[in-house]
Assembly symmetry: C2
DNA sequence: TTAGTATATAACCATATGTTTATATAAAAT
DNA sequence: ATTTTATATAAACATATGGTTATATACTAA
């Protein structure tokens, strides 16, 4: 692949918050406010991280009325599956979100 | 894997020069002065990039008298092979180095 | 020991990055 | 239409990063 594209990919992954987001989206698509709640970060901060991931084509978005749901993309990277598989399991966080009533939606 | 370890890995890969170094080392181990010549960058700059790669355990070093040869490591990362395979082929650069008489060594 | 070569480290500086606060946009509900 | 909710963008600031120049270290050769 092109080095520039690869650099953009790894830059997008070179941040703990963004790896957390990818790890969460591996389980299921989530909207911004859900990520805000799980990660305990401000909404603008999460939005900017999502923008970077989207620009690197690691996630894609889908609008559903007020909400924008983000999900894993990365199909342009032949290695993406191997990298996602190395991310820690976040099912507990997703569980907590559902139990705290927050799921679908905010 | 641990998110902190993964973050360090992707930070180390999030730079075009360092991806170039990895792409070159995929072909064969190289010493600092060879990388300097191929990449047309200053020696301190290359050394600092190598340090980052080494700290992330993506490369290892082997001393041979005055020279320190760097080579690919990355064995702690289950996805490393897939990622290295996506790097562009650099055999032409290696060829040029050998023809310019520079190989083994400096 | 001294001089030379290969590499590492430190100090400095310019640019990039991530966070926060404030504001804008877009859709929904009233 | 106006208000509310969800998300995006902008401005400002502190910290991180990468490059350069200068210097230190490690090994070799004489």
């Amino acid at each position: 692949m092109e080095l520039d594209q690869l650099t953009e990919c790894y830059k997008a992954m070179a941040d703990k918050t963004r790896l957390n987001i990818l790890a969460l989206l591996r389980h299921e698509e989530l909207c911004v406010c859900e990520l805000v709640e799980i990660l305990k970060m401000t909404q603008p901060s999460i939005s900017q991280h999502l923008r970077k991931l989207k620009q690197a084509k690691l996630v894609k978005e889908r609008r559903n009325s007020q909400w924008i749901f983000y999900s894993i993309d990365g199909e342009i990277y032949p290695f993406i599956k191997a990298n996602l598989d190395a991310l820690p399991d976040m099912s507990e966080k997703i569980e907590q979100l559902k139990q705290s009533g927050g799921k679908v939606c905010c």
